[in-house]
Each structure stands twice: as C-alpha cells, then as structure tokens.
Subunit: 218 residues, 2 copies
DNA sequence: CAGAAAAATGAACGTCGTTCAGACCACTCG
DNA sequence: CGAGTGGTCTGAACGACGTTCATTTTTCTG
C-alpha cells in the first residue's frame, strides 16, 4: 500500500480537474491553457503530464464531472413525474442546466480528441446514462415501441432537444431567442406526446399536458 | 478601374478559399494549417493576410460557400413538394448533404471566432436563408401559427433536425446509428405533421404522409 | 539509512497563427 | 515614356502554445 504517493497523486488530479473546470467555466474550452491550469493547481507545467496523459485527457475528466452533475439534475427533474410531464421536466431541466453551466456544457460537445479519434468508453457510458432518464417516460408514451426501437426513439428525442437547446444557447445562426426556448421545448414535448397518442383529448396547442398527466399506457 | 490588381486579388481570394475548403474537406477544420493553405494556393504564408483578415475570416468564407451549396440542395429537395412531404425531403436532404460533406458541414458549426464574438452578419444571413425553405411547408401544416410564432417554430424544428443529424454524424455520444437516421427523421416529421393536424386519418406510426399529401390548410 | 523508483520541475523544443521590413509590381501623372 | 507612389508579395522572425526530458527532489523499500 503506497498511500502517501497515491494520496498526493489523487489530490493533484483532483486539483487539476477543479482548476481546469474553473478555467473552462470562466473562459470556455478555447481559453484553457496548460500553464494557467498548472499554476492554478499549484504544480509545475510538467506536472500535468504526470497526472494525465495530456490536456485532452484532463478535459475528458472535466466533462465526466459535468456529466455527473447534469445527471443529478435530470434525476431530480424527473423524480415523481411520469410520461409527458417527466419529458417536459427533463427537457427544461436540460435547458436550464445548459444555460447555467454554459461553458462547461459547451465543452461537453465542443471537445474533440486531438487525433480525431473517439472518446474513451468510460466517458461514453456517462453520456449513455443520460438516456436512461428518457426511456422510462418515453416507454409510457410509446407503449407500442419495443426495446430496440425505444432506444432509437430516445436517442432521437434527446438529439432533437439537444439541438434546440444548443442552437439557442450559442447565440449565432438559427437559435431560438433565449426566452422562447422553454415554451418551444414544451410545445415540442406536447407534439411528441400528443402525436404519439394520436389525438390528445385536450388539443395539441400548448400546455395540453399538465404536470400530473398520467401516461397513456397505464 | 484598377482591373489588374483587383483581378489578381480576387483570384488569390478564390484560390485560398478553394484550398482551405479542400483541406477542411480532407482533414476537418482542426487540421487546417495556414502554411498548407498558402502553399496549396500558390502564395507565400503572408499572402493569406493580404487577402483575408486572418484564418477565421478565410474559414467564414469557406462556410459561406458550403451554406450556398447546402441551400441549393435544400431548394432542390423541396421543389414540387408541399407540407409534410416537403418537410421530409428537407430533413433527409439536410442529412444527406451533411453526410456527403461531413467535414465541411462540421466546420459550419464547429467554427468559433477567435475572440468568441459573433459571426458577421453576412454569414448569419446565409444561415437565415435556410429557414426560408422551412417556413412555407411548415405554414401549410400549422395554419394556426402567425408569422412570428411560425418563425419560432421553424427554428425549433430546424434545430431539432440539426440535433438529430449532428449527433448521429459525430459517432460519439448519443448519436443514432447511421442507418437509423433517415427513418427516425421521417418518423419525426410524421409526428410533427401528424401531431399538428391532431389525429392524422391514416395513423401516426410511419409513412402516414405520402409524397403527394396535400397540406391541411388548402 | 542506503538504494531504487516515482514524481516534480522548468527550460527547451517543435509547431502554430500572425506580423513586418524590405523587395516587387501595377498604376498614375508630368 | 519614366519616375514616383502606394498597394502587394515574401519569408524570416516573433510570441504563444502543448508537450518532452534531463535533472533534481521526494517517497517507498529492504
């Protein structure tokens, strides 16, 4: 048991992740500098490379931390909600987390590996975990979808919501104005839920599904 | 009329844009190197900075070229189609253009200005032009939406489709498998079109709207 | 405590975008 | 036509960056 070394090593890794996260949160991923992170974390420049393979590796760990926090937020949003209400809470919870942690959230999707290769599996599984929150309410709304098709549909809706949030938050191009995002997300979920149920009783315009709406399949 | 100078200047600009586009298409935006572009275009390194403000500026012009080509593709896709059929053709046309020009298409959305500022207006209007293709078919399907709300809804659906395409094409994270993208897009458009019409006569599962389906509002 | 192994250090390296002083060239006007 | 003028081209030089590495320092082991 080499406690002393391992303790220091883990402390350094945690310091570096924290320092990098702070720099990204402040100035965005593009403003991340190895020298800044090292000095913030209180180690020499080369120390980064004893704790992590390279800056990419460090960013991946920051992203894993961000993913965890987002997962917590989504879990809280979906708690005690079902069907359309859960989908709405997840969508708006996603949008709010993204807005409140814009630079860290951007880093999740802006970051590219230096060699263009894929992200490591351990980070990918962190992303996949987010889908879990979606499948249950979606299954309630789409009772006709089997496991495989349900997974695809969950990815589709996640990607669609992500696109709306993403384009709205980066203020360029075709994004929705910030105050229009959440209403549009709710309208979108209404269409998804209402369309799947083929003719919601209370119409499909807006707010058709209250927070307490029970899923169609139960 | 300083023809000689202006001719050479425009020729150099065109060469540089073409060279940069080729490099981006081959290796992605991250692989773009000022020295490569200059040597490809047959000018010295510094020549770039007599024709463009900086590399960002050059990339913006490559992106404008890409936007134009995508606009042409979308116009062709929507031609002679209305309502849901037009939306479907636009979505799949978008997905195919993205897949066939992956690196150039990625550059459209990956690129960030060096100072973090917004893209110039002349490029933004190129993006806005894409929305025009959406509004007409969307208006046919959503006859209840006014001009302002229609614009918002168009942005929402564009962003949603973009999100699905974008996450599918970058093979990491939560993207749809490539062969599942177009079916999911079509299912999505069905939900959008069917949901808006509140109970399509032929059910909302899949392929509910044939190519010749007339918009609901006429 | 001595020897070995791991980690920390920061100067140095290679690469990048950008700049700039000088060479070059196209245009103007006497 | 020909000298002056001002834009353009050139590539060496610059500063910033991520990464490496020889060296020193710290930690573990017997």
């Amino acid at each position: 048991m080499a406690t002393r070394r391992e303790t220091r090593r883990e402390a350094l890794r945690a310091n570096l992740i924290e320092a990098a996260a702070r720099r990204i949160a402040e100035g965005g991923l593009a403003a991340l500098r190895a020298r800044d992170v090292a000095s913030d974390a209180g180690c020499a420049l080369g120390g980064i490379y004893t704790a992590f393979k390279d800056l990419d590796d460090l960013v991946l760990h920051v992203n894993a931390r961000t993913l965890e926090r987002m997962g917590d937020r989504l879990a809280e949003a979906a708690r005690n909600r079902r069907g359309g209400a859960a989908l709405k809470a997840l969508a708006t919870g996603y949008a709010r987390f993204a807005r409140q942690n814009r630079n860290l959230w951007d880093a999740l999707f802006d970051h590219r590996m230096a060699d263009g290769g894929p992200s490591p599996d351990w980070l990918l599984s962190g992303h996949l975990a987010l889908l879990e929150y979606l499948t249950a309410p979606l299954a309630a709304i789409h009772p006709e979808l089997s496991g495989k098709a349900l997974q695809l549909r969950a990815r589709s809706y996640f990607a669609a919501v992500h696109g709306m949030v993403s384009m709205s938050l980066q203020r360029r191009y075709l994004g929705l104005p910030e105050d229009a995002l959440e209403p549009e997300l709710e309208a979108f979920v209404d269409v998804v839920a209402g369309g799947a149920r083929r003719g919601a009783r209370r119409g499909a315009r807006r707010g058709a599904l209250g927070d307490r709406t029970r899923p169609a399949g139960t």
